[in-house]
């Protein structure tokens, strides 16, 4: 069986400009949220913004790409690949939501009022297909795909990468997700009534909704054979991916959670393990009423009520298309380091949710972990990561 190893990880979010800083903040329980500063808004919802993007990756009007490039650089360095992509069959598969949409408010406002508008935002949009732009910058010569599956985009992009590698379509893939905090979805989520005016509290009885965030999470995935050929060793590997649709509603999760359960079962089957082999789950945990209730019940059903769970959205906010990438990265690192941080915001158990997130930093022992993602449109995805040690 072809084993797909994780040889590099890069992350950027409000929780940290890189993985080391993020882990420090996890340990300190820091939650870097505040009012929106990236665009003018009167909406009362706190957000998790990335405060500093290095000058060299700042791209005017292409913040999602900038965030992605920060994480790509860290991941490539981690995999010792920075200057060695030439001649390799390198795929790029990235999830996003904002970067796929031509939703420039200034452009559209000008067009409406003047009957014409400068084409610069359109040109930026056409140059800014996330996977295409990253592939172009790092000169990757392999398959290239931008996944736009709403909030599971990053996780599904990693799942696509797994398929590419298992099918021999390429030898190595940069996979994950990136999204910027943008005015349009900020208004959109506000209109849905699922954003909290205080800091989010995933799985808590008194949860009031999500906080939006931004960031990027990138994994370098390669076949074990290829990694070995270039002298790389990695304990971590991507053991399984499962995806299933709710076929239920555009924004609400299916109440019985059948889609998520099917996704989990598929991922476990591909990994050739049982639910008892899983030592913790990094849950989607948005802190909305519906998501946490459905997800919590499914996790209890599949893994039992004592399964250790966290939601790192309390540190990053909901980063939409980046969430699956970031959370898979955090999950992998937790497995490697043997500890998971406290799940921020959680204080009071909810009688309707049979699982409880961890309230303090906890050691873990085991070889397999799961990261789940649920999305608008009823997408459910699960990724299983293994540790060979």
């Amino acid at each position: 069986m072809i084993k797909i190893v994780i040889t590099g990880i890069g992350t950027i979010s409000a929780a940290g400009a890189n993985l080391t800083e993020t882990l420090d903040n996890f340990q300190d329980g820091k939650r870097n949220a505040g009012p929106v500063s990236l665009f003018p808004s009167t909406l009362p919802y706190p957000v998790f913004e990335v405060k500093n993007i290095p000058e060299k990756w700042r791209k005017d009007g292409m913040r999602t790409l900038s965030l992605a490039l920060c994480a790509v650089e860290e991941a490539l360095n981690d995999a010792e690949l920075r200057h060695h992509l030439s001649g390799l069959r390198v795929g790029v598969c990235l999830g996003t939501t904002v970067a796929s949409q031509l939703n420039d408010l200034d452009f559209y406002d000008t067009y409406r009022s003047m009957g014409e508008a400068p084409m610069d935002p359109v040109d930026r949009f056409l140059r800014g297909n996330l996977a295409g732009a990253v592939a172009c910058i790092i000169k990757a010569q392999g398959p290239c795909l931008t996944v736009v599956n709403a909030c599971s985009s990053g996780a599904d992009a990693i799942g696509v990468a797994l398929s590419w590698l298992k099918n021999g379509i390429c030898d190595l893939v940069l996979a994950g997700g990136a999204d910027e905090l943008n005015h349009v979805p900020f208004c959109g989520f506000g209109s849905l009534g699922i954003m909290s005016e205080s800091l989010c509290a995933p799985f808590d009885r008194d949860r009031m909704g999500l906080n939006l965030g931004e960031g990027a999470g990138i994994l370098i995935l390669e076949t074990e054979t290829f990694a070995r050929q270039r002298g790389q060793k990695s304990q971590l590997y991507l053991a399984g991916y499962g995806s299933a649709a709710d076929a239920y509603h555009l924004t609400a999760p299916r109440p019985d959670g059948a889609g998520l359960e099917a996704a989990l079962q598929k991922a476990l089957t591909e990994a050739n393990i049982t639910p008892q082999d899983i030592c913790f789950v990094n849950a989607h945990g948005t802190a909305t009423q519906d998501n946490d209730k459905v997800e919590g019940n499914v996790l209890a059903r599949v893994f039992g009520p004592d399964i250790k769970i966290i939601s790192t959205k309390g540190y990053t906010g909901h980063t939409l298309g980046a969430a699956g990438g970031l959370e898979t990265a955090f999950t992998a690192v937790a497995l490697l380091k043997g500890w998971i941080p406290a799940s921020p915001g959680f204080e009071n158990p909810d009688d309707e949710i049979p699982v409880m997130p961890l309230m303090e930093e906890t050691s873990i022992c085991g070889n397999y972990v799961v990261s789940t993602s649920l999305a608008f449109g009823g997408n459910n995805s699960a990724l299983v990561i293994g540790n060979k040690a």
């Binding site: 009167t42 031509l102 939703n103 297909n129 398929s163 959109g188 299933a244 709710d246």
Partner: protein
Amino acid sequence: MNISGIGIIFTHGRGINKYDEALRQGWRKPSLIELPSVPNKQFPLYPVEEKTITDKGISGKTRRADKFSKMAVLAAMDALQDSDLKIDKKKFSLGIIVASAFGPHVTTFRFLDDILDYGEANVSPTLFSHSVHNAAASYIASVLDSQGPTITCTQFSLSFQQALILSKAWLHEGRCEYVLVGSVDECGTVMEYICSQKLKMAHDGKIKPFTFSARPWAVPGEGSVFFLVSRDKALKKYCQIEEITLGCQAIKEEDIDITILDADGIAGDESQYRNSLPTNAYIAGYAPIFGSMMTGSSFQCAAGALMIKNQIRYACPVQDNPYNVNICKVTKQAKMKKIQCIRYNCLNEKAVIMLQQ
């Protein structure tokens, strides 16, 4: 990977038979529209009419859906129906892959209207939820009650080709037994305005695939095509998709009956297509039937599949041929075993879809 069913929504109607009819009939004038932003000037467009996407059978489930989602749902539904496959007991074994260059941008702009007109606290949640790219895939899954994996992807000119590659991988791995893979794109007035600024619009209404121009003519179109594909040879109703190659990967060009050029004026310089002309095979290009679209390869692919199924060679709808290449001039019965469909993107990267009997 075998094509078992095809569903299509395009400017001349709905269904694979309607498409066959349009291919036999040849070129028809596009609609002419006046943009609010450019008064006294008309622009050509191949629109999908509202009546084409009205289907009382599913109106309950799609009552809030926009044009983008409706086009995709109907094309996907028709592809499944065309295949005669019943998925009641296979709801987890059908995958859905939707490719789109621009997503539901008309709804996105309507949502921006809300923000600009009513303020950020008074926008429509329905418009927002329909403005995400994967709304169409969600509707397809819901209408078909399919709970298999679902992916929506966007890669501008090569979205459909990438979707096909993923379909093949999913089937090969056993992630699903069947995949509904297709494309959907729409053209609203803002996009038409952008096209008028970025492209050379064909004011005579003709896309000319064989002029190999650095500034080719375009007539924007919209629509959706879906294919039901599987590894099951017994379900091969049309043909098989033998290979999808990208970039500099080598392709075998032996025994090809027709090379379809997906040159439609939307991706810029088309001079590269001259380098892809086969020495013996016929050349064709059917974009003048459905219009210029980043995801037009799916429509070309449907034409190829029909030609293999029906053992017919469709005449090129527009035959301007300054380089005197070997184009199909008349529609006639012919042996059709192998057809390739070629697309270049704006970076001059080549993609080939190879169809085989």
